[in-house]
Symmetry: C2
Subunit: 336 residues, 2 copies
Amino acid sequence: MPITLKELAAKSGVHPSTVSRIVNDDPQLRVSAATRARVKELVKKTGYRPDGMARGLKLRQSFVLGVLVPDVLNPLFAAIFRGVEDAALEEGYTVILSSTDGHEDRERDIMLTLQSRMIDGMVVASASLRDSSVRWLRENGIPHVLVNRYSDQKDYFVGTDDRLGARLATEHLLALGHRRIAHLAGSPRYSTAVNRRRGYEEALKAAGIEADPALIVETSLVAGGGVLATHRLLELRKRPTAVVAVNDVAAVGAYDAAEQTGLRIPADLAITGYNDIPLAARLRPGLTTIHVPAQEFGRAAARMLLEQMVAGRHEPKRVVLPPELIVRGSTDPGRT
Amino acid sequence: MPITLKELAAKSGVHPSTVSRIVNDDPQLRVSAATRARVKELVKKTGYRPDGMARGLKLRQSFVLGVLVPDVLNPLFAAIFRGVEDAALEEGYTVILSSTDGHEDRERDIMLTLQSRMIDGMVVASASLRDSSVRWLRENGIPHVLVNRYSDQKDYFVGTDDRLGARLATEHLLALGHRRIAHLAGSPRYSTAVNRRRGYEEALKAAGIEADPALIVETSLVAGGGVLATHRLLELRKRPTAVVAVNDVAAVGAYDAAEQTGLRIPADLAITGYNDIPLAARLRPGLTTIHVPAQEFGRAAARMLLEQMVAGRHEPKRVVLPPELIVRGSTDPGRT
DNA sequence: CGATTTTGCGCAAACGTTTGCTCTGTTGTC
DNA sequence: GACAACAGAGCAAACGTTTGCGCAAAATCG
């Protein structure tokens, strides 16, 4: 139904190739001002737009980017996506978003589908540590940027220093006088989880406190998991006075568990999260957490991806943004 | 870099067309079992996948859907998208997501970009009332479904009965004895806002209460707007005892304003929202609101879109899911 | 055993662009 | 005035598929 280049050429009485060159402002184009004006006029009038498929086939690029996240319902990933989208739009790219739900096979499927040359590059915010998908991306020469997920030095990367962030949170609790500090840990498959746990352990060690294995429990990355894990902690003979959660969603689970047990936050149990999702500031008391600039992650990732696409593979760049401790009422009784 | 049909044909010693038919399981294909096996084997081994561009060019479809929302950072729209994504994936479609930020020109730009035949259809959750984009979609024969946004009877549509939902909320407040009930209204450009306001007014009228124009203030659809609007309400000589907010985000603004003014919820000010975003249950007190099954919206929209694409334009279907009142502590002191 | 059907596959055009090259006529140079 | 140079635009191949049609050879039939 939309008008094609050929039809446009026929209408204006020139050859299709000429129209193409005019539309694309071909630098090595030599065409009379009159012809150019006539064609441009007709392009405006008919609202001609080149067929993306045909163009993509010839040019071998689609101007579409792919973003892979575990779940867009998690505000952190929604924000990352939004950042990618904005930066991409500025350069005329559109973005396909896919949620993997953490299943490697679904992730794999999606990648294969996207690969079929429909995508110019991808931002991957879902890859776990032992993930073969990342290797696959490298082997197939697909430009990609990893967000908030560790890899070795071979990939473009943007994220925060998770170890430092977790240390900040833990040190904050130590400074408040806490000594029995628990950790709601994430799956060791995720680099973020591993690094945060390491940061937690480092902070304790630096304070001369030896880590009690019973105080570290693993949780799934959804609220329900946090509840269960926290209950296990609260059933200990010597229960912790504070808990460092691997992320805000798990921390919310800790809130629920505390409420169900009749414990008051922060008097009986202090809690810290990670990510500073919008909900964190809305909880009562507010959740002390580590702010990560998610939308900036997205923007940076998109820019690095585009840069990588024009420049070809160079030394991969790594962007590490600083984590920031946000103190709220869940640790400090003086705040809301 | 990926292997092509032609190369595959050369390797297996048959004509490209034969490979194509085998790969696509062409029903009118007549090929010896031996050849078929040999080719299929080679396809597996090489990991051949047809080039999406070339395929799209020939077939005139891309197996990509577009979703337009005001802002994916709003959990309501994230949920709608997720629904679309899931239903689309089941049918082998991937989805492009774009945020319009409510700007009609940006929406227009995005549509033009997407149209260029890269998209097989779109789900539009962002169109305002006087929106020309919807007309444009119709004129250009692009399959589309409107979500949560009214249109006349000419389009496929899925949403709730906003009027009924707002009536439920208002009647709930009336039943609790409230008489001065205010309304944080949305922009009249949005059909949802218009219908909710109408439902609010109907409920008052049915209760024999005449609407006080001073009790209806317009707010933008972000938290900041809700704060300002609520302050204006609270400055009235006879201030309202309850407020029906056009959505949860505005209601959160009302919470803030109440807190800043030193009013207690629900004793001094009862509040209802709309949408039941995850945050609503987490506020203290919990926000009484109208639950809308956002993810189901998305699923339904995708299914209708795909149906429309195979069937061609028939009588447009309209799916209206029932709104459900969720009572929490922001209106009922007996709850949390 | 010759005619007819069926099997198995190849041929080539088409989808809508892009782009290196060719070709004609006009202008400039000596 | 002969020749080079250049402006202006057309030609055709190519990108990787799909698909209607054609055409041999093998199988079936009377």
